[in-house]
């Protein structure tokens, strides 16, 4: 029953468009105390700020919901920008869009500072593999390769 609830929680959170490997507070166990955590799996995370795990919304839920809201609004502004009639309107909306996008980033960084996001480094050999693969495609460039470093 507990597991079933956890799965539902994950589904709900995904539905709310919460991504970037958000640490799930309900069953995440992290022994990292103090300082930036970088374990064997090359994951990067701050010490996690604790919040009450009750049915009531906590501080983390508040921030998280605002973050989701900023994401929704930047999507919507983007559509409005595509449809704006004149340049004066377009420029003002673009500036409002940028401020909203930056607020989204600010909330994300705020959550990262509180240890609510865990970042995982990609495997170096796989990165190299992809680099070589796509470097190989440069012979398909229509403008030559003279500008490549």
């Amino acid at each position: 029953m507990k597991e079933y609830f956890n799965i539902l929680t994950i589904i709900v959170k995904q539905a709310c468009r919460i991504n970037n490997s958000l640490v799930n507070g309900s069953f995440h166990t992290n022994s990292g105390k103090g300082g930036l955590l970088m374990n064997n799996n090359q994951s990067v995370q701050n010490p996690e700020s604790q919040v009450p795990k009750t049915p009531q919304m906590n501080d983390r839920d508040f921030i998280n919901d605002l973050l989701a809201n900023e994401k929704y609004m930047t999507d919507s502004y983007s559509t409005a920008l595509n449809e704006a009639s004149n340049d004066v309107l377009y420029q003002d909306l673009l500036s409002i869009f940028t401020e909203t996008q930056n607020m989204q980033r600010e909330l994300y960084n705020f959550m990262f500072q509180h240890g609510w996001y865990k970042l995982e480094s990609a495997d170096t050999s796989k990165l190299q593999q992809s680099y070589q693969q796509f470097k190989g495609y440069s012979n398909q460039f229509p403008y030559g390769t003279s500008n490549l470093q």
Binding site: S49, M57, N58, D59, F62, I63, D65, L66, N69, E70, Y72, M73, S76, Y77, A80, E83, A84, S85, N86, D87, V88, L89, D92, I96, E99, T100, M103, E106, L107, F110
Partner: protein, 87 residues
């Protein structure tokens, strides 16, 4: 440049649309105002219920931004009269 908007002769070609509010613009205005009103209310409500002062401050900052945006978007309803005043 936009001042030619209301006196368009057959010889003049508008390089960009004049300052005006189209039907579509106005529909987006009402949408955007609604999003921002909800966002500022929500942020303020959350801030009132937040425990950590740092979180409270961050949330209020977010809400205040949405109120500023509301005021800016609201002014665009007057773009028509501004354009006619310039001419």
């Amino acid at each position: 440049m936009q001042q030619q908007s209301t006196n368009i002769t057959q010889n003049e070609i508008m390089t960009t649309p004049p300052v005006m509010v189209t039907v579509k613009d106005s529909l987006y205005f009402t949408d955007m105002l609604s999003w921002n009103l909800l966002a500022m209310k929500k942020a303020h409500f959350y801030a009132q219920n937040a425990q950590d002062p740092a979180i409270k401050a961050q949330i209020e900052k977010c809400g205040q931004m949405h109120q500023r945006h509301y005021e800016r978007i609201l002014q665009h309803f007057n773009d028509n009269s501004q354009a006619s005043m310039q001419n």
